[in-house]
């Protein structure tokens, strides 16, 4: 379980990105975090694994408090949180296999990682994961040879091989076409269900958030303005989060159909 208590973040520029955010995410829950650009979605996710340090407040993952950890303890805590990035953030000049195995860096020592001597179980698991996401044949390709959707799948494998309890997902579909976006979101949801993972997914696309999450949190100027089920996202709520706009079309299309063509209507922000 992840618990945020009165979390605030003020950047050096003086911008208050998060204001007193408190929330609780039980094990296995898939949460979509929506809100306009600059609402603090990325900051919130990055505070959890401390790529950004919160100014005030506490973060608990299970019974561990993340905010007060030393560097070595933080590394250990980060192993329990897999992160998936908007622009995939794969190491472009390494192979797919190396990228997946890099998810184990928190577990192996420096020399093992330098000489790519990962334990046999890790390599086998990497193959299993690549097979699961349909990229078995790409294992020895360099990451920069892959398409966007393929790269994001590798990113997912890298996060999963950490054996996390929680996935932090930052705009996973922002650089992908509508169909690939749906496939990636579906894959993330399925994998979370298979493994009982909780996930926080930052997402711009309200329609996708409605389709794939169990709970939606709306963030506006660093504050939570909505926290509830996807069905509760009425035009009034969306206006509260994003501002005045015609939201009817966004809400209509929620059928989860792979072949649906008119699926780009939901690109809200």
């Amino acid at each position: 379980m992840l618990r945020l208590e009165n979390l605030s973040k003020r950047y050096k520029t003086g911008d208050l990105a998060l204001k007193n955010v408190s929330l609780e995410i039980p094990d296995g829950q898939l949460v979509a975090l929506i809100g306009p650009s600059g609402a603090g979605k990325s900051t919130l996710i990055r505070c959890v694994n401390r790529l950004v340090d919160a100014t005030e407040g506490k973060i608990h993952l299970g019974d561990r408090e993340i905010t007060g950890l030393s560097m070595a303890e933080l590394r250990r805590a980060r192993r329990r949180m897999g992160m998936i990035f908007q622009e995939y953030a794969l190491v472009e000049r390494l192979t797919v296999m190396e990228n997946v195995l890099s998810g184990r860096l928190g577990y192996v020592n420096f020399w093992q990682s330098l000489f790519r001597k990962f334990p046999k179980e890790n390599v086998r698991e990497a193959y299993r994961l690549l097979d699961r996401v349909g990229l078995m044949h790409m294992a020895d390709k360099r990451a920069d040879e892959l398409s966007g959707g393929q790269r994001q799948r590798v990113g997912i494998c890298r996060a999963l091989i950490q054996h996390p309890e929680l996935l932090l997902v930052d705009e996973p579909t922002a650089s992908l076409d509508p169909k690939t976006s749906r496939q990636i979101m579906r894959l993330i949801r399925e994998l979370c269900e298979e493994r009982g993972l909780a996930a926080i997914i930052n997402i711009h696309d309200v329609a996708l958030a409605r389709m794939f999450s169990e709970r939606v949190i709306g963030l506006k100027l660093g504050e939570i303005v909505y926290d509830g089920s996807p069905d509760g996202l009425t035009p009034d709520v969306l206006t509260e989060i994003y501002g005045e706009e015609d939201w009817e079309a966004t809400i209509e299309k929620v059928e989860d159909d792979d072949e649906s063509e008119a699926s780009d209507d939901g690109r809200a922000a």
Partner: protein, 270 residues
């Protein structure tokens, strides 16, 4: 501002009239300085020597041909020395330049003061010509190939480290962030997040520097630091012009070959 409203619609100019005049003025001042400087140089030149130059050149030219081809027997060894000076010198420089670059780049340096020291080393080694390093080293370690190698190595550290640390500063930081997010240590972040991104730069810089150093090491023999320059110096001293021309041909050939190799290798890396 540079939009002017005319009767038949707006007119657009890149600059305001004032800026345009200032630019013309700048060119005029530059031209005046050039004319004045030319006049100064002209006053301090002994024109008799200059008028005589073509005849002198023709004179040396005729003494230089035909090149003394038999002298080649004595040149193989110095050519080999020259290549060794360049290659080993470059290797030493690269081995030292990579850690210096990591300590100098602002995104990997452990502390600002360390960065300052590294930048000083980079500027220091770069600003002293390899001939001057060689001059000092001949006194310290004695004449020969060793002095030349160290001189070339020292001179190259700065240039290599500068290009590499600039590459480190320009990497895509999100790749490093991703490694950090997995729980990787600082050292692992470097090996996985940074090194793969700068590897092509390191290889390119190494080859480029080797190419420069082959040219640089041909001259070091002038101050006794080994290589083909020793022969060149000796031949000039005894006015053996046919040998001089032979040495020059060999230098030209060596540089040509090194240029070819570095172009090929660089093509293969990219």
């Amino acid at each position: 501002m540079p939009m002017i409203q005319a009767t038949d619609g707006p007119i657009w100019r890149k600059r305001t009239p004032l800026k345009q005049w200032l630019i013309w003025g700048g060119w005029l001042v530059g031209l005046c300085i050039a004319v004045y400087a030319w006049q100064l140089i002209s006053e301090k030149t002994i024109w008799m020597f200059v008028w005589d130059a073509p005849r002198q050149m023709a004179d040396i030219g005729t003494r230089m041909v035909p090149p003394d081809w038999s002298y080649m027997d004595k040149l193989w060894r110095p050519v080999w020395d020259t290549l060794n000076i360049a290659t080993i010198g470059t290797a030493i420089a690269m081995v030292l330049a990579v850690p210096i670059a990591f300590l100098a780049a602002h995104n990997t340096t452990p502390h600002k003061s360390v960065r300052a020291v590294m930048l000083f080393i980079i500027v220091g080694t770069r600003s002293v010509n390899s001939l001057i390093w060689a001059l000092l080293l001949v006194v310290i370690v004695g004449p020969g190939v060793l002095a030349g190698t160290i001189a070339i190595g020292f001179r190259s550290i700065g240039g290599c480290a500068k290009l590499i640390y600039e590459a480190i500063e320009e990497i895509d930081q999100t790749q490093v962030e991703a490694i950090e997010a997995t729980g990787g240590s600082r050292a692992q972040q470097m090996v996985y997040g940074i090194v793969p991104q700068i590897l092509p730069t390191i290889a390119g810089v190494g080859v480029f520097r080797w190419d420069i150093n082959v040219r640089g090491s041909t001259i070091l023999g002038i101050v006794g630091a080994g290589g083909i320059g020793v022969q060149l110096n000796a031949s000039i001293n005894v006015l053996a012009w046919t040998q001089v021309s032979m040495v020059l041909i060999v230098i030209l050939g060596t540089v040509f070959v090194s240029e070819y190799i570095s172009a090929k290798v660089r093509g293969a890396i990219i």
